[in-house]
Amino acid sequence: MEALTQYSNYIVLAITQIIWLGLFIYMLSVDKKIKNIEKK
């Protein structure tokens, strides 16, 4: 429990970065799909 409190900022940082990475990959793939349809 103490470790959780001590490293809370780093835990929040890791979670936020994972969410941002997920959102970025999702948006990139949507972008790519749209581009492919536009080309057709």
Binding site: N9, Y10, L13, W20, L21, M27
Partner: protein, 218 residues
Amino acid sequence: MDKLLKYGLFVWLAVVICFAIVAPIPAVGTMGERARILYFHVPTAWVSTVAFIMALFYGAQYIRKRDILYDYKAASAAALGLLFAILATVTGAIWAKFEWGAFWNWDPRQTSIFVLILVYGAYFALRSAVESEEQRAKLSSVYSILAGITVPFFVFIFPRIVDSLHPDPIVNSSGKVKMDTYMLIVFLSSLAGFTGLFVWMLNLRVRIAKLNMKENQA
């Protein structure tokens, strides 16, 4: 170039997130670590305001030019504005729980953003209630103009004329910025990153709308 901008945005926001969450923060009143919410809460509120104003602009463009694409652009901007307004409300409520002791206090800032969410929720209710595309575009464009006019009042005027527990806005009533230089740099970087993210999201939504339009016409 296009790809470079997207990857650039990814790196930019990833670095901003690191600075916002881990880097030491100067003392801001009695807030301590809770002041970090500023780096996420204010940019989401800012983006929602920009989006609502853009919805007003595109609504007016539709009325002028009668091009259905402007209606799609207005609806896309309003949808993203609503999403970011909800994010600002949720982040604000979480902060309020720790700072004020309750998630919801009907503070002027909370009330004004709640009213804006209702106003733009009604915009989408209106859109879904009209079947004819042209009629829907006309009505919702007029509505987005009227709703957009209320945005500066709810965001900039109302919270400043009523007593509030909410911390001072970044630009205070005397028109000056009261913020530590280091915090200001991280904050402005976050603001730029969130604005870039919004522009990309809007671009995707508008392109999807264009494809739908083409499919409907075919």
